[in-house]
């Protein structure tokens, strides 16, 4: 792993105003708004709304950040920068690993920011181990989205990547129960939601404090998505390199 390369890449993302506003700041602001409106309530199953909203928005932001790597990959392919990278010692697997790691790195600020807001002004009170699950645990559970972002970068072109990731984010946000809590939707819709990785990302976060949320199924589904997205990313990357 080339740490210096990774650090330079991460710095470039973190400096991008659009990234900071839409991916990091927006979910944090939404958390404060929703928390102010519904923070004192609880769902029928006993889950407290405040920490649930915190998990939803931290997860949404982290997911968006992880997927955004796909945009830069599509741009690098389109502009010929990837060809330039192939004239360095960086290998193909090194590139894919670096981009996945980058996705994870840039997902971290959303988790940290929303959690910090939850703990300070959001009135969320959890035990130490519960905090560990909703921060570190949630962050690790973002991995399938990091890989999905890399796959998206291979599947899209520099001109349609923005639209594709925007659509994907809306679908994943809705079906993941991040916009409309999965606890209040009809049963059939909850079944649809359970096929998406975003549902299980949220569920994993909720498992820290919710009396009903399960962890094992979620981890299996998330691992399955990671594997599937990884296969797509690798296959498409190889085909792309062979065609270049």
């Amino acid at each position: 792993m080339n740490v210096r390369y990774l650090a330079l890449e991460a710095r470039a993302v973190m400096r991008d105003i659009r990234f900071l506003v839409f991916t990091v700041a927006m979910p944090a602001v939404l958390f404060l708004v929703f928390d102010g409106l519904f923070g004192g309530q609880a769902f029928a199953d006993g889950t407290q709304a405040s920490p649930a909203l915190m998990v939803s928005m931290a997860g949404y932001g982290a997911m968006g950040a992880a997927l955004s790597t796909g945009l830069t990959i599509a741009a690098e392919r389109g502009s010929g920068w990837l060809r330039q990278l192939r004239l360095t010692p960086l290998s193909g697997s090194g590139y894919l690993t670096a981009k996945t790691t980058l996705s994870m790195l840039v997902a971290l600020p959303s988790v940290l920011l929303v959690s910090t807001l939850g703990a300070t002004v959001g009135g969320v009170s959890l035990t130490g181990s519960q905090w560990l699950v909703v921060t570190l645990g949630l962050w690790i559970a973002v991995l399938p989205f990091g890989v999905l972002g890399v796959a998206l970068g291979q599947l899209s072109t520099s001109s349609n990547a923005q639209a594709m990731s925007g659509a994907l984010m809306s679908v994943l946000g809705l079906t993941g129960g991040m916009w409309i809590p999965a606890e209040i939707v009809p049963g059939w819709m909850r079944h649809v939601m359970q096929a998406t990785p975003s549902f299980w990302l949220r569920e994993f976060g909720l498992s820290a404090f919710s009396p009903v949320a399960s962890r094992t199924t979620g981890l299996l589904v998330l691992a399955g998505w990671t594997l599937a997205a990884g296969l797509v990313a690798i296959t498409r990357f190889r085909a792309d390199v062979a065609r270049a």
Binding site: L8, E9, S79, L87
Partner: protein, 311 residues
């Protein structure tokens, strides 16, 4: 360095580039139809040819960016990828665009990081005159400045071989002159330079050796002087009153003659003999000019006649 291969117990220095029977097809189109080329260390070679001649495809195979359908490319006796990993090769690709969001300094630093030579950044920026522009975003660079950044990227690993695909495309005259000055400084250190161009004057002024490509094949290979000579010789122009076309055609050394008013144009295989005879026979001939055919003439002559046209 380790540019040596051991053959039958003796150590032989491998050429910088050795292409053997390289073929690349796209569907039914043959982009490169069997190119053999050996480039010695320290040579400055121009790959010259019209658009679609197969220059970029040849370069991509040389660099290991695309796999040939047949034949192989070796750089310094090893595979292109091995040479790239060893930092022996730098390249400016035609489509090697830069990332708009990165500054010049960051762009160069990323490539330096990947070559594990982060300390080279200030040096290379200075060598390419980019120190002042280090903090500027690539999106805000002029065409010539962008090319300089790409040149800087190519120089990071101190490559022994530098490959340039149409390096001056999009540069103005001044930028082009500056670019070639820095390229010359680089090649003067004994390194090998291969560049593709369709600017004849660039091949003429900067290359020791010119390889003409047409329809994916090498149709001529030699020094600029050799290629010129092979294609056409010299041209004599003069005002010769009362000369007939028939007489002029029969002058020794003349291959082809034209007369317009009193002005004659003689294309000569042996211009010295032709000129001596001309001045001897036509005492009132005046305003004589002898010109060597430019590479352009050679280029046109060579690329016009297609030996395989009747296939």
């Amino acid at each position: 360095m380790t540019n040596t291969v051991v053959t039958a117990g003796s150590v032989v220095t491998a050429p910088a580039v050795r292409l053997t029977g390289l073929v690349k097809r796209y569907g039914s189109t043959v982009a490169v139809g069997g190119v053999d080329l050996e480039i010695a260390t320290g040579e400055v070679l121009a790959l010259l040819g019209p658009n679609g001649a197969g220059k970029s495809t040849t370069i991509d195979m040389m660099l290991g960016l695309i796999a040939p359908d047949a034949g192989q490319a070796r750089l310094f006796g090893r595979s292109p990828r091995e040479a790239v990993v060893a930092g022996q090769v730098g390249a400016m690709l035609q489509t090697g665009a830069l990332r708009d969001g990165l500054t010049v300094g960051e762009t160069v630093a990323e490539i330096a990081a990947l070559h594990r030579q982060p300390g080279r950044v200030p040096e290379v920026l200075a060598e390419t005159g980019l120190t002042e522009l280090a903090k500027r975003k690539c999106a805000k660079l002029s065409g010539g400045e962008r090319q300089r950044v790409r040149f800087a990227i190519a120089l990071i690993s101190r490559p022994e071989l530098i490959v340039l695909d149409e390096p001056t495309a999009g540069m103005d005259v001044e930028a082009r002159r500056e670019f070639w000055a820095s390229m010359r400084a680089y090649s003067d250190t004994g390194r090998t330079v291969v560049f593709a161009t369709h600017y004849l004057e660039e091949a003429q002024s900067f290359a020791d050796r010119v390889v003409l490509l047409r329809q994916g094949r090498v149709i001529a290979d030699g020094t600029v002087a050799q290629i010129r000579a092979a294609a056409s010789g010299r041209t004599i122009q003069a005002v010769v009153p009362n000369a007939t076309l028939e007489e002029l055609r029969r002058l020794p050394g003349v291959d082809h003659a034209e007369v317009r008013e009193d002005r004659v144009t003689l294309r000569c295989g042996d211009s010295d003999t032709a000129l001596r005879t001309l001045l001897d026979r036509y005492r009132d001939a005046h305003d004589v000019e002898v010109t060597a055919a430019g590479l352009e003439d050679a280029f046109i002559t060579l690329t016009e006649s297609d030996p395989e046209e009747n296939r």
